[in-house]
């Protein structure tokens, strides 16, 4: 059974990394706001860039704040594979149809 003192000692040493993660999350948010406000990219490319930045931010939150990085490999694989798999399925159901509507020029 985990000894509370040992557990605390291990994690107190690494508390600083959570402040770094918080700092990077704020920096990435600022980058997103500047990119969007200055309209650096065209809308489709802007969406791609913002989605990539959001995925990086969510990976930091899931890995560090939600502690998934420190869980067992089985837990990590089970959760990430299941959720990513579902999103891929959703994408293939929805977006070809959305693209078709754009090509049809529906008003």
């Amino acid at each position: 059974m985990h000894d509370a003192g040992t557990y605390a000692a291990t994690h107190d040493d690494s508390k600083g990394q959570y402040f770094w993660v918080w700092g990077w999350l704020l920096v990435l948010t600022a980058v997103e706001v500047v990119l969007a406000y200055r309209q650096v990219f065209q809308p489709v490319r802007m969406l791609e860039v913002l989605l990539v930045l959001s995925i990086v931010k969510s990976a930091l939150i899931i890995g560090y704040f939600m502690h998934l990085k420190f869980e067992t490999a089985l837990m990590r694989w089970m959760l990430v594979t299941a959720v990513v798999g579902c999103f891929i399925i959703m994408y293939f159901f929805f977006f070809p149809d959305a693209g078709r509507i754009l090509r049809l020029g529906v008003h």
């Binding site: 059974m1 994690h11 959570y18 969406l47 704040f65 837990m75 999103f87």
Partner: protein, 267 residues
């Protein structure tokens, strides 16, 4: 020897010889919360897909978010990110059995969460007063603003915007109540009751939150049932599991903020 090996990864329930075998290397409360969050992520995923689909396939999609809205949303994002940090610090305090600092950090998390809800509510009220509305929303006093035409011409925008952000705001509200119950237990009930009643009387009846505040009443009822029917001292595991829910709420906003606000900036 076998018992020692089992004990290493197990949770002891205080009854001799009774152990809960770890599933996926974690206690069952944590696995249960992760499974719930996986399913909830699909709910938000579906809402985000619906928003994105409408965004792509609708001609003349409005871009109503000016400098003030983007600044407001950026402050809201900073509040949620800071609340995640204070939540992590609360979990550390719980693990070293420091009750006072566990409560302090959970209270800080609740303050940031409440700030997010208040700022979001103010944003909603501003948009609704300018005419962006849904059937069933109370009509604000005064003339319809610049978004009245938007609501009529592109009804998908208010429908997806309010649907998505309402779902998220509800999750944040439930999260604040959850943290209040874990941090303060029965002491939180009268506080929640006062906020509910005060909100109902202080928010004008032409504001949608005059009716939305009743979510706090429902939260009060559910919390009271849990606290009186199953009273317990919430330990580090309970704080950690509450933290998982809170971080998930932050995680969802990391997608809503860029897709909804940053992709619809009015320059």
């Amino acid at each position: 020897m076998a018992n020692a090996a089992l004990e290493h990864g197990a949770v002891e329930h205080g009854l001799s010889g009774v152990y809960e075998a770890p599933l996926f290397g974690a206690y069952s409360k944590k696995v249960g919360m992760w499974l719930f969050l996986a399913s909830d992520s699909l709910t938000f995923g579906a809402l985000l897909f619906a928003f994105s689909y409408n965004r792509i396939s609708t001609q003349g999609w409005p871009t109503p978010f000016g400098k003030d809205s983007i600044a407001n949303a950026t402050i809201m994002t900073a509040c949620l990110l800071s609340s995640s940090l204070t939540m992590v610090l609360g979990v550390f305090a719980a693990q070293r059995r420091d009750r006072a600092w566990t409560r302090n950090w959970l209270l800080a998390t609740m303050v940031f969460g409440t700030a997010f809800i208040v700022l979001h509510g103010m944003e909603w009220s501003k948009l609704i007063s300018e005419g962006l509305t849904l059937p069933g929303f109370p009509k604000p006093a005064g003339q319809a603003g610049e978004f009245a035409a938007v609501s009529a011409a592109v009804p998908q925008f208010p429908a997806t915007f309010f649907g998505l952000t309402a779902m998220h705001m509800l999750h944040v509200t439930i999260g604040v109540i959850y943290l209040g119950v874990v941090a303060f237990r029965k002491w939180f009930l009268p506080v929640l009751g006062v906020i509910w009643i005060a909100g109902y009387f202080l928010i004008p009846s032409d504001n949608v939150f005059h009716y939305g505040i009743h979510a706090l009443g429902l939260g009060l009822l559910v919390s009271a049932v849990i606290l009186f029917l199953k009273p317990k001292d919430y330990d580090a595991h309970d704080v950690e599991v509450a933290g998982l829910y809170w971080h998930f709420v932050d995680l969802v906003w990391m997608f809503i903020f860029p897709l909804v606000y940053l992709m619809s900036t009015k320059i």
